[in-house]
């Protein structure tokens, strides 16, 4: 029995996405941005809150997209990084009285470190093994947060209540709206930074590793460094999203950050299109609104609806929202000509 595998014949872990296909054009970006700015002015507070969550999850999906679509590594453990970010923000705000806006960069930095360290053992794993290790991380995280040892800080099983910030400078808008615009500014900042990151030297290194690790190292890319870096960046962004999530929901508890969250984020990435950054917001909308609608039809059905839709996506539009967007673009192009 030979134990040699032909690496060349093997299906790649993630399909390659060219660099230019990762973002939207200027015009479309401005339209989406305009919608995101104007929409909440006409919505009730509850919907504004949902749109805030939409942006927060979009950030988390974006982070996963950088890791998987960019550098070709899996993670089913994003909920762990999200939890660390959320707890960092909550603890800084409630125990140390730090301003909410300042907690976000700290959450990001701590998660970057955590992700970078987790990336070290993950270096030796690829494909399915990496999925397994991160899966275990996600399952273990709520247990770690419940530990009696940290209880003084984390509040144990009960969790922590976070105060919602008021709009500054006496602006006459509600807390929810203020938080929405705050989140929007953070999200746009991170989105632009991510796009630039993927267009930079580091981004090219990520993609080289994704497409062919051996070739990349032959070209002089420090594979170990860039792989852990991708993990760190992804964890850092997820941490910021987690911090924002804690502020928006006003509550952190171990059981909000289970494997279900990690799976949702993964799902969001697949639906939005792996490696297509704007797809993150489509994926995020999917994971926020579809379960709600499914619950309306029948209680407990959301899992089945989720699963069936995921299969539909895999079979019919394997590139997710990106494929839909491309088809739409071509249709519009035809209409213009005709």
């Amino acid at each position: 029995m030979s134990a040699v595998e032909e690496a060349a014949n093997e299906a790649p872990a993630v399909e390659a996405v060219p660099k230019r296909a990762m973002t939207l054009g200027y015009g479309t970006s401005l339209v989406v941005l305009g919608l995101l700015i104007i929409a909440p002015m006409f919505l009730k507070n509850f919907f504004v809150f949902q749109m805030t969550m939409l942006l927060i999850y979009a950030l988390a999906v974006l982070a996963l997209n950088i890791l998987t679509g960019g550098s070709g590594q899996f993670s089913l453990g994003q909920s762990a990084f999200y939890a660390v970010g959320a707890y960092t923000s909550a603890i800084l705000m409630e125990h140390m009285g730090v301003n909410y806006a300042l907690t976000l960069p700290i959450a990001g930095i701590i998660c970057f470190g955590f992700g970078f360290l987790f990336g070290q053992p993950a270096l030796r794993l690829s494909g399915i093994y990496l999925a397994l290790a991160t899966f275990a991380l996600a399952v273990a995280m709520p247990q770690l947060l419940k530990l009696g040892f940290f209880e003084h800080w984390t509040g144990g099983v009960q969790g922590l209540v976070v105060t919602k910030p008021d709009a500054p400078f006496g602006l006459p808008i509600s807390q929810d709206r203020w938080l929405y615009y705050f989140t929007l500014v953070v999200s746009i900042g991170i989105y632009i930074a991510s796009v630039n990151l993927l267009r930079s030297r580091s981004g090219r290194a990520f993609m080289a590793i994704r497409d062919n690790e051996i070739a990349a190292s032959a070209m002089g890319v420090d594979v170990a460094l860039y792989k852990t870096l991708a993990f760190g960046v992804s964890a850092g962004i997820t941490g910021v999203a987690g911090g924002l999530g804690a502020i928006a929901v006003q509550f952190v508890a171990p059981d909000s950050y289970t494997i279900t969250l990690a799976i949702s984020l993964f799902l969001g990435m697949v639906v939005g299109g792996v490696g297509w950054l704007p797809g993150s917001i489509v994926g995020s909308a999917f994971i926020i609104f579809v379960p709600n609608m499914a619950e309306h039809i029948s209680k407990g059905l959301s899992g089945a609806v989720f699963g069936v839709l995921l299969f539909v996506v895999i079979f019919l539009v394997p590139h997710g929202a990106r494929q839909v967007a491309i088809v739409a673009q071509q249709l519009i192009g035809k209409l213009k000509k005709g």
Partner: protein, 292 residues
């Protein structure tokens, strides 16, 4: 010393659960080179079927056999319908498929049989085994069944034509096709067998952890840990790994201060990562060399 021996025995008893699950995980890994994240849910579903049959008044062993047959057919059906088209797809797509299957099975079981905890009977009874307080007859029976299953699998793979064909299809698909083996159906067969083994695992585990749609969550993680420890390519390794994980878990709980029930899953996590980093092929697996 007596405490130590007792803990090892108790560990072996729980280890039998993990060994069963790991065996199913390894079976499917051998056939398709993927870890089936939905394995635990499939086993749970089979166990519910057995429970339902017994509720309808089918005797235990008939229900057992019918469930095995159903699981076998179900595993093949899932492979044919959902995963055969994905055979050439990237790993990511397959992982997404497994997760989708996980969600569907879990949700359907919850809808059909609701989330209340149900008692599941044991064919071995639950009195103390040979006067020992630590191992019940059920746990002893479980160890026996696991070892028996392993021997059967060994005989099947070593001494039957179809077992040989399955091994050929798994290790060198191209050459296997050239000598006339229908590799596609061998994979389906692997799914069916893994599903049936999962059903046995579920039926054995259910009297211990009680029957409910989420019963397999923790067990599956330990099953993965056991499979990884023993080596994902070796059924024997999976079973040995299962027992080792059970013993390790119990000893860590006894001798390392601060490790109680709440740290059980983090231990599995630490174990998986340590093994993957130090010896990715596991104790019994064969390392795979890649040719560029």
């Amino acid at each position: 010393m007596e405490l130590f021996i007792n803990q090892v025995l108790a560990g072996i008893a729980t280890g039998a659960i993990y060994a069963c699950m790991a065996l199913a995980v390894v079976m499917i890994y051998q056939a398709i080179d993927h870890l089936n994240f939905a394995q635990g849910e499939m086993a749970m579903f089979s166990t519910f079927i057995a429970w339902q049959l017994m509720q309808w008044g089918v005797p235990y062993w008939w229900a057992f056999l019918l469930t095995l047959a159903f699981s076998f057919a179900g595993g093949i059906a899932i492979e044919r319908m959902l995963f055969k088209p994905l055979a050439k797809a990237p790993v990511l797509t397959n992982v997404a498929g497994f997760i989708a299957l996980f969600a569907i099975v879990n949700s359907v079981a919850g809808l059909t049989w609701d989330f209340t905890i149900k008692q599941f009977p044991s064919p071995f009874g639950s009195s103390p085994f040979l006067g020992s307080q630590l191992i019940s007859t059920h746990q002893a029976g479980m160890i026996g069944v696991t070892v028996g299953l392993l021997i059967l699998l060994y005989l099947f793979f070593q001494f039957t034509r179809i077992g040989l064909a399955m091994r050929a299809a798994a290790s060198l698909p191209e050459s296997a096709r050239l000598v006339g083996i229908n590799t596609s159906w061998m994979i389906a067969l692997g799914w069916g067998m893994a599903s049936a083994i999962g059903a046995i695992a579920g039926i054995l585990i259910a009297p211990v952890v009680f029957l409910e749609p989420n019963m397999m969550g923790g067990v599956l993680i330990y099953g993965f840990a056991a499979a990884v420890l023993g080596g994902l390519t070796s059924p024997l390794g999976a079973v040995v790994g299962g027992f080792l994980v059970g013993v390790f878990e119990n000893l860590a709980g006894t001798y390392i201060p601060g490790v109680g029930n709440e740290l059980k899953l983090p231990i599995a996590l630490a174990l998986i990562i340590t093994v993957l980093v130090l010896k990715p092929a596991g104790l019994f697996g064969r390392p795979i060399v890649k040719r560029v």
